[in-house]
Structure formats: C-alpha cells, structure tokens
Symmetry: C3
Subunit: 397 residues, 3 copies
C-alpha cells in the first residue's frame, strides 16, 4: 500500500472542483501553487530514481509485479496471443531505423497493422531484440533507462501494459514482456461507448519518457477495432504522417515503390482496383501538423469513415476530402476506389504546401476492374522541385 490517499476526514477534498459561480468560493482551485512536498513524497521520488536505475539494469521482472492488475476488467483471459519483435533495421542514410514485426524478419515501419473485434482480449508478447548499444545511442539523457515498449491508443489496458517508464512497463534489451489489450465493447447499460475505432500503437520509452526517438526511428503501427456489422474493406493501408515531411518515414519517390507490373500493395505502394473498398488508417506522429488529402475521393467524418444509408442524421455528417491531424491523432478513411472518377494515379498528399513540395506526396493507383491502368502520364511527386534529400527539414509552418 503506497502513501497515495484521498483522506476522507482530513481537509475536505471537494467532490467536484467545478465552481458554480453562486458559491463565491474557488475551493481547492488555488492561485499560484506552492508545490508542497511532503517528506513521504521526497522519499518516493528518491525510491523511484533508485528503482529506475534497477529497471534500467534489468530489474523489471521484480519492479513490475503485483502492484497493479495485469488485465483490464472484462478480460478474464486473452482470446489470442501473438508474438511481436522489436528489431533494428538498416539505417536510412544516417537515421537509425527500428521496426516491429510479427517475426524478426518481417519487421517494418510502420509495423504490422493490427485488427481486433470489440470484445476481444489480446496478449502480445514483445521481444526486445534492439541492442543496448543502439538504444543508448538514441537516448537523450544517460540517466534514462534502456528498453522498448508497446503503448496503445484506444483499447483498454492496465498500468502493467501502459508501456511507460514511470509504470515500469517496458522491456530491457534481450528481454520480453506480455502486454494485454482489451477491445472493450460498448455497454448499453452504462452507456460506455466501446473501443471500436482507428487507433495506433507505438514505443513510449526509447530515448526519453515519451518515446520520441523510438517513434522517429520507426516503432509504430496501425490498429483498427471493428464492431459487428462494420463494413469490411478489401484493402487496408496504414498511412503515417510525420516530421521531415514524411509519409511512413519516407519522402518523394520513396513513398511510392509500386511497379507497373504486379505492384505489391503495402505502405509504400497504395494500389487498388476500381470498385474495391479501400481503408486508410491515418496517424500523425512527431512534432508537426499535417493535413491528409486524397484526390478524387471523399469520406464521411465518422467513426468508420462512412455514413450509413437511411440514418435520420446522415444529412448532418460532414463529408470531407482533407483532414487536419496532429501528432497522436488517428482516424479512418474508407473510399470506394475510383467510384465515379475512374482509374488513374490519384494523388495523396499533405496539403501544407511546403510539405507537399518537399515530397510529402504519394499516389493511390486505381486500376480498372481488370487490374489494368489506362495509358497516361506517369507521376512525378514533385521530384523535380524536391529531390528526396534531408535538406528540407527547416520548418515553415
């Protein structure tokens, strides 16, 4: 039992800190806080520093046990278990690249797109195969522990699966840890809204307490949680907008590796046949604002990216083809490829002009129903005006 306690019979903690202006009192909403520090708190901070040092040295198994629940309420035991590997990938120029993979050999950035159904509980065992040397090279402070983690958005998890330093829920080099995610369904009794949506997962500890260096190295991936009855897309692409005018950490020509014959669908080759339902899991990372724009296609600004037929409120739903996203945001887009507009090389880019000019632009290649592209101009991604170097990093926005 820690010292943390809301004392009932001490100076009354107000049940609500909102101040109805009738009360004439600000209650505990003090002015300039004095930042009280009890002796107990100071002790705890010291203890935490010691413990972090232990954790950094491999003391995690002890540190992470028995204090908080292992599984969120509603998950009696996992319905599925998977293995996930954090590995080092070849550098991109001088940039260290890391990736998550369902096997070490298939690790990539973004990592594998995860898919869950509401009600499902998933156990993911993360194996940290990134060397201490690489992790040390990425950290910004020598006191910061070495490890990788798995932090997820949207679904439910306890402190044991938070993936943060302060909850000691990360994985030192060479070790493993099981994270439990629960896609809580909506509860019609309590009105709880359920976890269906477009989410993402990422490291939260590489380099610093927010995983900034893990994210910029490639430790992120998309997650979609579906609800029974949700439309099932024919193709799902994860599109991550990030710093240095990047899409999935690439710029310019590197965003689009499609070949004319038998293009291989993937994060750097967005291709579909006319009429296929294409789903994008769009995620923002890093420090910059971006806007996701797709030519020729639009979507509904809803949970699913669609608006259902015959709904009484369908008339009020905004339909958009450009959406602002900041770091941490994620949303879903569903379009019927080429619907009304036909096949073609349809640009997908950030509409911040400096970003698109610097190469933050790719294509959704929509082939005809037979899988062929009508002859036409090829695409350039603005390569002429923006060679894919790192020189465009100065920020204009």
């Amino acid at each position: 039992m820690s010292a943390w306690r809301l004392v009932e019979d001490g100076p009354a903690p107000k049940p609500g800190s909102a101040v109805g202006p009738t009360t004439g009192s600000t209650g505990p909403l003090g002015g300039r806080p004095e930042r009280p520090r009890t002796g107990a708190r100071r002790m705890l901070v010291v203890a935490a520093v010691v413990l972090l040092t232990l954790v950094g040295a491999g003391g995690l198994a002890v540190a992470g046990t028995g204090m908080f629940a292992e599984r969120p309420d509603g998950c009696v035991k996992p319905d599925r278990s998977i293995q996930l590997y954090a590995v080092e990938l070849p550098k991109d120029g001088t940039q260290i690249r890391l990736g998550y993979g369902l096997t070490p050999e298939t690790a990539s950035y973004p990592g594998p797109t995860m898919e869950m159904m509401e009600g499902e509980c998933l156990a993911i065992t993360l194996h940290n195969q990134v060397s201490a040397e690489t992790l040390a090279a990425l950290r910004t402070n020598p006191a910061h522990p070495l490890g990788v983690s798995l932090h997820v958005h949207g679904v439910k998890y306890t402190q044991e699966s938070d993936g943060t330093v302060q909850s000691a829920s990360f994985v030192p080099p060479g070790q493993s840890r099981t994270y439990t995610w629960y896609a809580a369904p909506r509860n019609n009794k309590t009105g709880a809204q359920g976890t269906a949506g477009y989410w993402w997962y990422h490291d939260h500890v590489v380099g610093g307490p927010h995983g900034t260096q893990g994210l910029s190295a490639g430790l992120f991936g998309g997650l979609v949680v579906r609800r029974p009855g949700d439309p099932k897309p024919d193709r799902t692409y994860t599109v991550v907008f990030g710093d240095r005018q990047s899409i999935n950490l690439r710029r310019g020509e590197a965003t689009d590796t499609c070949t004319e014959v038998n293009p291989q669908p993937g994060p750097t080759c967005l291709v579909a046949r006319k009429g296929e339902r294409v789903e994008f899991i769009v995620v923002g990372i890093g420090n910059d604002m971006h806007t996701f724009h797709l030519h020729g296609h639009s979507w509904a600004d809803t949970r699913t990216g669609m608006v259902s037929n015959g709904q009484p409120f369908a008339d009020s739903i905004p339909v958009i083809d450009n959406k602002t996203l900041g770091p941490g945001d994620s949303f879903g887009v569903q379009v019927v490829a080429g619907d009304s507009v036909g096949p073609g090389h349809w640009m997908l880019h950030c509409h911040m002009q400096f970003h698109s000019d610097a190469g933050m632009s790719t294509m959704l290649h929509v082939l005809d129903e037979n899988g062929n592209m009508p002859p036409g101009m090829d695409h350039q991604h603005g390569a002429a005006s923006a060679p894919a170097t790192d020189g465009g990093e100065h920020q204009h926005n």
Copy 2:
C-alpha cells in the same frame, strides 16, 4: 445614429454575394479592392482615436452607454449576479502573472470554472485591481488603452459585453464594469441550436487589441453550459494548453502538485477515485497547436464528450483519446476514471513529442474506490530530460 447604412435605393447591395455561376457576374466581389474611405469614415476614425484616448483616461462610463443594448435578447434581467476580480499574482520567474478570482484572495490561473444552465442569464461585475503600471508594462504600444476585460466564448452577449477595445467594453484600472452573459437555450421553433457546450472566457485588451498579454499572464478560465438532462460529473478540471509547452501555464513538475496523502484536487492536481465521472474542460491559448492525449481512457467526440446509449446514430460517433486543438478551441472530455483499466498514474500530455519532452505532461491520478493508490512506480514527467526552465521556448513545430 451613425453613418453606417446599407442604402436600399443606391447602388443595389446584392441580397446574397454568392455567385451562382450561371449569372456570369461577380456582383460586388471585386478584384483588388480600392479601399474607399469616405470623409465620414475618416471622421469616425479620428473620433474613435479621440474617444479611445478618453477611455484610456477613464471616460468609459460615458463612452459605453446607450449605443448598443445592454443585454442580449432573451435575457430580461439577470438570474444571478457575481463579482469577479482581476488581480496581480506573484511573478513566475520574470513572467508577470494575473488572475481572475471570485474574491481577490482566491484569484488564480486558470480563473474559477464557471457553470451555467441553458436559459440562465448571468451578470458578472468585473473589478480591475491590476495597477496601471503593470498594465503599461504589458502593452506593446503606448497608444493602446490600459484596462482588463472579460470576453466569453459560446454564450450570448451584446457589444456592451464584448470585452474589446473597439466596442469600449473594457475596465480601466480601479474601475468596474458589469458584463451580461446569456446561455440561450435551443429554440425548437427556429432550430437555433442552443449554447450548451464547453467554453472559456478571457481578457481581450491587455497589451493589445486581442489581449495577447492578458492571456499569457493568466487571465482566462473555463466555462461549461449544461442542458437539462446532461450527465453531471463528479469532478471538473480545466486544462489549458498554451505556449512554452505549458499546461495551465506550468511545465514539468509544476503541472502536478499532488501529494500522496490527501492530494488537493485543482488545476495542478488531477485526481479521482475509480468510478468517478471526471470532466475536463480543455482549452487552447497562445500561438501553438497542441494535441490533448490521456492514457487508458477515451471519450466520444460529441458536445458532451459522451455518446448516449441507444441512440440510432451512436454507431457513427468517433471515439478518440487524442484531439488536436488550436488557440481559441475548447471542448469537453468526460471519462469514468479507471474504468476497466483500474487505478494508476495515467499520463495526460500533449502528443507533440517536442512539447511532451519539454514538460507538457501531467498525470490523472486514479485511486481505487477507497481512495488509495496501489503501490507502484512514481511518475517523472520527463523531468530528467526537461528541467522546468524557460529554456525550451524555441519552437520545433
């Protein structure tokens, strides 16, 4: 009667300036405007400058009377009256700090959280206790008048309560002025949507015509307008994301002054028991974009931050755990503390990595139902990598 007039029988003012492309005419949508200035307008500008000088010297009572209505339509007379004080607080380093308070002694930043019900009309008498000397130190132009004001978002008010320089609705040092806010209800006859929502109030005149210096000194607070039947939270916290990577103008450890024993709920101590309904009024100020992210909890992107049970359109509502906000934006978040995920130190931070690394990060401390915290790691806010100095002001985004 001023010279302002839409002349009916002169050159026809178009009833709508939208140009249906069939008309083949742009109407009054001219190219490069010539910026016409009639003699009457020049006179008025001169008069305004003279008047502002008078106002700056204390001529407000005369200047603000009898030209525009005192109260918005629908407010016959105020249902409640409160006093609000603008006072100077101790500096934070070299930064001047001001605050609003329901008494001078309880002034704080953010100011008191206001709460209204739709249909209510509120009279707020603002007493300016900030010295002319301090206000002069904050202004960017010696011609700018000295005063503080109250400008509110969302609810209804006339020009007399706009809180701006050009409407002369501000308060010189040592004086008082009554502002009238009307939380207009929805009108089922006209379809007017009502004013229920998550709003905020702030100064609009300190330092310059947009109150930039008043805002950055601390003159802001949250406002929630409820509708009958809205869920009533157990706790309400106002969380203001601003420049210099700040939460409620603090960074790093200063964002979280909770003590282990009997933590005092307030803007710098976000604490709740498991199962309590916690409401956040989230506001953006300043110049930067931010994203509000809370670990382990999510909310519906609706007016109330919840989605009601059994609604035919509930399926379409996005559920999110990260939301972009710019200056001036405000929204509400409602979560059931620890629901499914249990107690713990749950991070609340801006997901712009540079911002969180620089200390724009705090905690929602969720205790168990008995008000106790299970023993575990303490939290660090990334203090190791980001000492709470002012050195982090350079902008990366």
Copy 3:
C-alpha cells in the same frame, strides 16, 4: 494499354493488406523497401519527361486525349457550361497577384464563389490569360511546365479534370481546357454519401507540382454544393485563411473595406442585416494552421453549419465558435446575424494571438433590421500595434 497491371496469376497480390495478427505474416508489408525500378518504369519516366516538355510547349490537346474518361460516371453530359478566366491582377507591393473570374474584368482573389446542387454536372472552360513570362517568374524549377489549372475539392472528376501536371490536365498560356465537375448525389442503394458540402477550387500547377505559387498569388475560390432541402442563406462570404497572417490574402485594414454608407458586400466587406442568415465558406491555404473565430455567434459543427430541429441526435452535436483549420481544409458556418446579440461590429479573427495581432482580423458588421448601425466605437483591427506591412512574416507557431 499501359504496363500498369495487377497480375492475377503472378505472386499473389493480397486482397487485403491488413494483417490480422492471427496470421503471423506481414504479407506484402515489407520492411525497408528496395524501391524496385523495372525497365518499363524507367522508360515511362523518360516518356513522361518528354511529354511534359511537349505539354509545356503546347502539346496538351494531344497529350490529354483518349486515355482516361472525360466525364465522371453519372454525368452523361454537363447541365451547365461556364467560362472561367485566369488573369494577372495588379501586384500587391512586390507580390504577383492572379485571379479567376467569370469574365477577365471581374477576376479577383478569391475567385467567384461557385454553387452547385447535388446531381448537377458542370463544365467549366478555363482560359489561361496569364503570360508565360509571369508563370516563368513564379516557377521554382526551370524544368517545370508553364500553365494554370483548376483542381477542385469534394465533387467528382476524372483524371482529365484533375488539374495536375502528372495527369497533364492543365492549361498552357493562351490556351483553354474544359474541366467537368459532377456533384454526385448520395446513393441510398450503395450508401455513398453524396458530395454536398463546403469545398474550394484552386490551381495545382503554377510554380511547382502542387500549385503553391498559384495559390499564394490568388488562384483559389469557394464552392458550395447543396442538397435539396438545405437552408438557403441570405448572404455567402468566402473567407480564406492563409500565410502571412492573411484573410483573403489581406491583413489589417485591407481586410475590411466597408464604407459606412452603402457598404458593398464582398470578400473584404462582411456586412449583414440583423436576422439575415449569413453563410461563410471557410478555407485554409498555404503552410500555417489557423483558427476561425467569430464574436457573438456560434454554429453547429455539421455538414451545413446548422443542426436541424427535432433530430434525435441533435443533443450530441458540438456547437462551436472557434474552429481549427489547416491548409486544404474547408467547412461551412451558418449564423443568423445578430441573433440575440444585436447589431454591432463583431470581430472575425484567427485566434492564434500572433496572427490576430499581426492583422489577421476583420469584422462582421451587423446592421439593424433597417440597415442602420447604432452609433458606437469604430473598429481598429489592431492597426496601432500591427501596421499592414510585410514585416510580420516570421513564424511564431
């Protein structure tokens, strides 16, 4: 027939690239892409460069014919045809200014506000009257072709009307090209959501492959697509927030050219009588984030900017008075001028403090029902602290 082909009997293109974690396989989601370049692709790139050179020299009619469909599905033939002119306007200081107009004489920035009904198909013949010399001065790369184009958001068009370089759908100096826009209605059989909404159109080729220089010179305008039954506003104003703290490319006093007697409604004179329904088409361009804020008025964050009466889900719709927008975003705002709050000079500004202080602020002048303004303070736009020079261009956000 081009080489582009999804080969069915080759290495299987996965029908969906989403990886259910049960599969244990990332499929085609590879790690670091090798950027394969087939010989065919290299040939095509060479061909495209040659073709672009031809296009730049006037070979467009040949290049753009017969490869992709001229009209989107659903548009058998255009319901209306209009002429649009891209012309050079007087410089603003040293800034080149271009505009679209329904006649060359009425060209402006923003260009004419377009209005369509769902189901309508519109043919727009764009005549490029901008000289090659001016276009050459704007381009950032001598290899980039000279021309202007018309790229539209939200409505349907084929590659022939994309307005991009890579689809060769632009207009060299002195030439013309017909673009076809189809405001596809919603399809209650398929659930396709329709194209009703607030959109915009712009150049996509001046200066570089994203039209950055065309946009910053003035080649943009608003578009609204309505659905039968939508409320019809009394006045529509297009408000474009852009770089250099600009509203419709102006700052400070230049944003508001209203005269007291018979103010001429237009993009630089936002005026209405109390009780009129005023519609804003709000658009973001350039590189910066902004927030659109209007004093005294609020709107519903829906497709129409309103929330209809008696809807079962109306209670959940956020009502706002400040909305973040990034480049490429567009949305609609509908307010009843002066409703409850009365006549007055109501500020409309970006709530980023640096932006509003630098002059990104104008007024909605609400006159009384007789078209008169009660006597009162005149407005200043913060001119005292922010002369409308170009000196404010350094970016603070």
